[in-house]
Amino acid sequence: MRESGSSIGARAQPKRAMWPWHLLLLSAVLGAWYALTRSGLLPSFFFGEPLVVAQRIAGWFITGKIFPHLGVTLLETVLAFAIGTALGLAVGLWLALSPFASRLLNPYITAINSMPRVILAPIFAVWFGLGIASKVMLGVTLVFFIVFFSVYNGVREVSPVVLSNARMLGAGRRQLLRHVYLPSATAWVFSSLHASVGMAFVGAIVGEYLGSSRGVGYLILQAEGVFDIDTVLAGIAVLTACALILDRVVSIAERRLLRWRPGSSAEHY
């Protein structure tokens, strides 16, 4: 999917490394930010100052103050991601293979999916308290549907020829599930993983933001309370870096596990 953007003519040439240009753009934006706030064209009270933000981040990591918060946020994210993916995979497989259950639950699934589920956060806070459970639950509801729909559609698009072939080779019901439906669904799960990692992260942060005593979202909320915009921006920067790292991990896992897929070996940029 990703490569479809580049034209054939562009691919014929050897690709030049883009990272110097990426770096240049970043420095330009940071430089402009620095110049504008320093010169007073932009009030630093509202827009922060890049050097102070950098100091704040460095301070967090040097004193180690950030680690318990970051640890909690990442734990919530990983748990939400793992539980949501497992549930989505299981329910997706079940509904795709059982037409009656699928037809029974179809309207409810559509309804729950179209509901803005972030609004469940206060309810989860009431049900599961202010600890990590309520954040994980919020993340799970967000991740679940992404994975569920891709598995559900993926299973129904399993090639009928491959399915017939497996049956002719002697596969029973369980073997079809394990050797045909599951690998086929896994490919679809991976195509949704990038989106669902992001969603797990959103669940954790929004949950923390609405009520918690730990986590990066909590740090940001505290800083906002005293109009400390530099700390807010520092928190956002740390979260963005974490999200990028998680996305990278998913890409690496994807490339390892989906080696069989056409074009997967060329899929990185």
């Binding site: 090639s159 020829v161 491959v162 017939s164 072939n165 497996a166 049956r167 002719m168 080779l169 002697g170 596969a171 029973g172 073997q175 050797h179 045909v180 690998p183 086929s184 896994t186 490919a187 080696r259 069989w260 897929r261 056409p262």
Partner: protein, 273 residues
């Protein structure tokens, strides 16, 4: 030839009809196959030819047990068939390999499904890959193999189970002419070793005559059924690339084509309306 298979025919279609719901007219059904009777003797290579859309694949799916006939009965090696035909290997027209398994794992799949240990299955699969000339490509995934290689993996995948009956649905129609002749020769040499019974569906008359002991012509669909059969008395072993030059081949070709032409023209005439 038909007398050979009388007692223990590999496959007997007895007045088989297959009806499907008509997509164009709701609530109605049309019969792809009507009152089809056909026997494949033990060890016999039967080719089924007919114009497009004449229900050739339907008959194969019935023989495989993937499709239950609406009427009539199907017997495999003397007993009525219910569910998947466990004696049959099925070579499909489109790609049927598991894309997430390497060539080796694909060939081993059938043994694993039938309860063999993974290591044993892989060991035997390696041997079968070598027989189709792909031992160097064992670790490759289907998308990394050419069309001809994929067909050879598919052949090995089926042959490793030593099926007593082979069902083939235009297996080589997507290949280029040279690869196709190589594959046909490969098929004949594999077949010469174990002499399974074969039901081979094709729309290519030359392929049918070159490979088979007997060519059965199906009427144009719907309500298709066998209308004629011809015994191919060409000597074996045959070389597919050269057999077409023999006078007897040309003679047979003319005979079968006389029958087939009428059916093909009737389909053509119907489609022009």
């Amino acid at each position: 030839m038909s007398s050979v298979g009388a007692a223990t025919a590999a496959l007997e279609f007895m007045h088989v009809s297959c009806c499907f719901p008509d997509r164009a007219k709701r609530g109605q059904s049309y019969a792809a196959v009507r009152q089809a009777s056909l026997t494949v003797g033990d060890g016999e290579f039967v080719a089924l030819v007919g114009p497009t859309g004449c229900g050739k694949s339907t008959l194969l799916n019935v023989a495989a047990g993937l499709l239950a006939p609406t009427e009539g009965e199907i017997r495999a090696f003397g007993s009525a068939l219910a569910g998947i035909n466990r004696d049959a290997g099925y070579l499909f027209q489109p790609d049927s390999l598991f894309p997430w398994r390497s060539a080796l794992e694909n060939v081993a799949a059938g043994l694993e499904f039938r309860g063999a240990r993974r290591s044993d299955a892989h060991e035997r699969a390696q041997g079968w890959l070598a027989r189709v000339g792909l031992e160097a490509h064992a670790a490759k995934y289907p998308h990394e193999l050419s069309g001809g290689m994929r067909k050879r993996v598919a052949l090995a995948q089926i042959w490793i189970l030593q099926p007593r009956l082979l069902l083939m649905d235009e297996p080589f129609s997507a290949l280029d002419v040279q690869t196709r002749q190589l594959m046909e020769n490969e098929l004949l040499s594999l077949w010469a070793d174990n002499r399974a019974s074969v039901l081979f569906v094709t729309h290519d008359l030359e392929e049918a005559i070159a490979l088979a002991d007997r060519v059965v012509v199906l009427a144009a669909g719907p309500e298709s059924h066998p209308i004629a059969e011809f015994t191919v008395d060409l000597p074996r072993p045959r070389d597919v690339a050269e057999i077409g030059l023999q006078p007897r081949f040309i003679d047979l070709h003319r005979q079968v084509w006389q029958t087939l032409k009428t059916e093909v023209l009737s389909v053509y005439a119907r489609e022009r309306i």
